[in-house]
Every structure is written in structure tokens, then in C-alpha cells.
Symmetry: C2
Subunit: 330 residues, 2 copies
């Protein structure tokens, strides 16, 4: 079922069929109608691979994320999709599960597909890969990794500031012994985040922090919290690397017969929608996924109007809700 068959049935050339299908140049109404009818009758669907090959262009952008189950990444993906649709681009998504091998596979896939642009919203990016990407002339956006260079835009969140706000707040309401729940992702910027927490805490002489890490999931958050609670007594707050894990942290705390926030406070990061539907609603730090999505589209989709900066830094806001309260006095 190809152009030729349609052409034959409509008694025209393949060139003409191609023209009507692409609304290109002028075709006499009568012939156009004949072609349309042939297309319908044959239930013809153009082969997109052939089209891409012949056309040479691309009209699609790739988005690679670390964990599509985490609403944070999903939100970014959706934001990009919205922007892309508006520009009549399609977006191809790939998920790495924080697996560096998968990342390589995904990147090759995207390049193989000749995407017009690529967004890497991942934390397992290693320098070698950045190099590989750098060789190519395809525009790339990194989230939180990579050095800005030619054709590369960098979006980063000032985690340090976000964490400091969170920790300052907890300190101000009396917390002196915290647990930090991180997730497994051996490379940057995750470890960096743990360091940020440690350093933020180090600004206070009398603030103690203990850490644990597990998978990026509610279950992971629960396990890490359990580890923390068993190993260290007297923790009055659990600071989680993101909202997704914080959900598990709250569950674990309650399963141990403790109350949130009366006995132990919990904080997240990202401010995903779920954070406000938790019970108690989660205190967190807002990261504007929509804005990130927009920025990605702006820097990946050719656009004469806006010129996007090569490095964008976001200063995240603290969002106070009900999962935090003054530290329990022992």
C-alpha cells in the first residue's frame, strides 16, 4: 500500500499524490478529489520513515528522563509535549530508569531518528556522553548537568538555595536532628544533592544530619526512612530528596505508630501535584516544571523571535504545608 498504488488507482503520477497529501502547490480540484478518494478507498497511510528520509527534515524532538514514574519527570515531559504540539512538532520520550546503559541506548535512538533537538532530563549523564552529544550538531538541553557550550543549553535549579530555605525553616522551628532520604544514582547531581544538604546543615553548629538512600519511588522512600528511624533515634524531621519519596517516608513513619508532623516532620522537593493531595499536605520546594518545559521548547525548536540564554538558573520557592511542625520536645 504505497504512493504508487494510490497513483495508479487515481490515474495520476506519484508526484501528484504527494502534492495533494502535502497541500503543496496547486492541484486541480478534480484530480485532487480523485486522489483523495483513492486514498480513502485504499485506506492508505503514508510511510513516515520514507517521508522522513526523503524530506530530510525532522519536526520531532526527543526527551529523555530518568524515571517517568516520578511525576516530576512526567510533568516536564507533558510540558514539552504541549509546547511541541503547538509548534507542530512531535516528541519522542525515552526513559532510562537511572541506568546509564539505557541512557546511551536512548541517545543513540534519538540521534538515529535524527531528532531536531534533544532534552536530557537525567542525572546519570556522564562526561563521555556529553562529549558524544557535543560532537553532533544537534541542539541539546541538559537539566542540571553538563557544561554550556555551543548548541547546548543548560537549565539548572539552584538546589542549594532551595535546600537552605528548607533547612533554615526546619531549624527555625526547633529541629536539630534530621534524616535525609536520597535516592540511588551514583553520579551527579544526586550525590551533589546529598552534599548540599550536608553543607546546608553544616552552617549550624548544632544541627545533625544522617542520610540513607534507596530507589526513587514511594517504596524506596519508605525503606530509606525505616533504615534511618532504626539506626538513629531522636530524629525530628525527615528531609526527602523529592516528593515522590516523601510519600513513602510518611507511610513508614505512620506505620511505626508515629504522627506526621506532631512526632516527625517530613519535607519533599519539586512540589508535584500529589504533594497537595497527600495527607498531611507536604511541605516542599517548588520547581516550575512548566517553565522548564517551555524553556526546552524554546531552545530546541527553531524560532526567530526569542533568543534563549545558554544557561538558565531557577531559584526555587519554599512551599509550606502541613507535614512540618515545630520539633517535638523530648
Amino acid at each position: 500500500m504505497n504512493l504508487e498504488e494510490v497513483a495508479r488507482r487515481a490515474k495520476v503520477s506519484t508526484a501528484t499524490v504527494s502534492r495533494v497529501l502535502n497541500n503543496a502547490s496547486f492541484v486541480k480540484n478534480a484530480t485532487r478529489a480523485r486522489v483523495m478518494r483513492a486514498v480513502e478507498e485504499l485506506k492508505y497511510h503514508p510511510n513516515l520513515h520514507a517521508r522522513n528520509l526523503a524530506g530530510g527534515k525532522s519536526r520531532s524532538i526527543g526527551v529523555i528522563v530518568s524515571n517517568i514514574e516520578n511525576p516530576f519527570f512526567l510533568d516536564i515531559y507533558k510540558a514539552v509535549e504541549t509546547g511541541a504540539r503547538a509548534a507542530d512538532y512531535e516528541v519522542i520520550m525515552a526513559n532510562t530508569d537511572y541506568n546509564s546503559g539505557q541512557l546511551v541506548t536512548s541517545i543513540r535512538l534519538m540521534i538515529g531518528r535524527r531528532v531536531a533537538g534533544l532534552a536530557a532530563i537525567v542525572s546519570e549523564m556522564d562526561p563521555a556522553l556529553i562529549d558524544e552529544l557535543n560532537g553532533n550538531r544537534i541542539p541539546v538541553v541538559f537539566y542540571d548537568v553538563g557544561t554550556p557550550r555551543q548548541n547546548i543549553t543548560n537549565i539548572r535549579v539552584n538546589y542549594r538555595r532551595g535546600m537552605e530555605k528548607l533547612i533554615d525553616y526546619l531549624y527555625s522551628i526547633g529541629h536539630r536532628k534530621l534524616g535525609f532520604v536520597g535516592h540511588h544514582a551514583l553520579l551527579r547531581p544526586i550525590n551533589e544533592r546529598e552534599n548540599v544538604v550536608l553543607e546546608s546543615a553544616a552552617r549550624y553548629r548544632d544541627l545533625e544530619v544522617h542520610t540513607a538512600a534507596d530507589l526513587d519511588s514511594p517504596e524506596g522512600g519508605r525503606r530509606a526512612t525505616r533504615t534511618l528511624l532504626i539506626a538513629y533515634s531522636g530524629l525530628t524531621a525527615i528531609v526527602c530528596v523529592n516528593d515522590f519519596m516523601a510519600i513513602g517516608a510518611m507511610r513508614e513513619i505512620r506505620d511505626r505508630g508515629l504522627r506526621v508532623p506532631e512526632d516527625i516532620s517530613v519535607t519533599g522537593f519539586d512540589n508535584v501535584t500529589l504533594a497537595q493531595f497527600c495527607y498531611p499536605a507536604l511541605t516542599t520546594v517548588h520547581i516550575p516544571r512548566d517553565q522548564i518545559g517551555h524553556t526546552i521548547c524554546d531552545s530546541l525548536i527553531p524560532n526567530d523571535k526569542t533568543r534563549v540564554e545558554h544557561e538558565i538558573i531557577i531559584d526555587p520557592e519554599l512551599v509550606l504545608r502541613d507535614s512540618t511542625a515545630p520539633a517535638a520536645r523530648p
Copy 2:
């Protein structure tokens, strides 16, 4: 950057380059090495469109879902991805947001990509589309819609049984006035679900049900619940069409100063992971997304061993948790 450039650099023919890249037939080690080096030096990435075109095969399956934000759909997608990866297939995902126009677009996209198989996990499927798909010779799996025919597998969940179990349970613990939270999706099978609830309830003379619908999201669940709570007093339980919306229902109930489950019980459907991380943990009905994902792969990916039935019906299990309790005595 194409085969020819690589061939030239390695001083071989394009055919040979193709061979080493596909591990096909034998190539002398020396030449293979030369080719490899050229590939590396040129940072060559084969054009997948050209490859697909020339190869004619496909090794990819499409999955279309109604709402990727709802973990239910995401879980199915992931299950399919796992199965597909194992068979060295890639999966292309498309999201319709319950929009029938998007569905058409997505289906055309998949056919245009010449996927080896297509899974439509959507509720906005209309008969015309089923016909369009039916014309094609590509194997299709429908979830919950469509009549089984040649090349078409149908997976359906026996919602009626699931709902009956839920309602029987609620009735048995004293509930006589229920609210049902559905979501907007004008076509089947959603309305069907509302009907099922109504009919399940009709088995009892003294069981009253009122319904409301909104978007498939926690926020939608919250709004529908608000509507219900304002319009009808004396409701002792809110039955939600799925877990995702139930999360919003619980929030709304509590925001009105009521307790779950002491004042009002809440139930979900699907048993997504989140259901056990809610507080209180959600009473729901389990739908085995893994099994569904497996089945999809089995019927879409050529496989000499198993022969899959053309119609598979799942009888879902009731999962009792903490969001339900005996009806409050007024």
C-alpha cells in the same frame, strides 16, 4: 554523515559497512576493525528511517493510552515496555488525554510508523476507528473496547464483578447512600461503568446512589466529590471510578472537616501503588497491569510458543484497606 562516507573512509563498500554494523555474515577481522574505527571517528549513527525503509521490518509496537498521568496507564505502558525490551522491540507511546481527535492522530502516527502491533488502552475508541484499524492487517489489542475479530485481541476486565464485590462489601457494613465519582469520557466504556455501578446498586432495594463526573485526576476527583457532598447529604461512602480520582476525593472530604473512613468511606479501583501509600490506605479493586502488559506483548510480538486467546477476561479482586469502615449511624 552516511554509510557512504564511512565506507570511503574505511576504503570498503557500503555493503561491507552495513554488514559489520549488523553483525551479518562474515567480515574479515581486519576490515571490520577498519570500519569500526571509521564509525567511531566519524561519530556515525545510522539513520533509522532509512534502515526501517530498506529493511521493511519493524521491531516496534505502539501503545496508546488515555491518560499517561494516571498511574494505571503508566503501569501498563511500563509492563509492555519490559516485555518488548525482552524481545528486543521498542515501544512507542502516545497519549490521547481522552480526546478522540488525538486518538485518530495517534493511530495514524502508529500506522505511519508501520508498527508491528498496536495496543489501544483507551476508552474513547469509537466504532469508526475500530473499522479503520480493522482494515489494516496489523495486529491490535484493545483494552475494554472493540469486538474481537481477525488480528484483534481483546482484553477486558469484568468491571461488573469488581463493582459488585465493592458494593456488596459496602452494603454489608451498613452503607445505604453512596456517591459515585466518575470521569468525563463521553463514550464507552466509562458511561458503561457508571451504569454498572447503578445496576450493581439496584440489586438492593434500599441502596441509593448519586453520581458526578469530572476530569480523570485528583483535582477532578476532589471537585466531583465536592459536588456530591454539597448536593446530597447523608452520603456515607464515595465510590470512585479509579484510585487516581479517589485521592482527590479523600482530600475534599477532609477539607470539609470530615474523617475518612469514620464519617465517610472512600473506595478506588485499579489498586495502583499509590493506593497503599495514601493515608488512609485505599480500599480498592485490583487490576493486574502486569498481566495485561504481558498479554499485550504476547499477542503483538510474533512468538511460536504461545498462542494467545482472542478474548481475555479478567476477574478483579477486592482489596480491603483502611479507607472503608462501617457506615456512621446518624
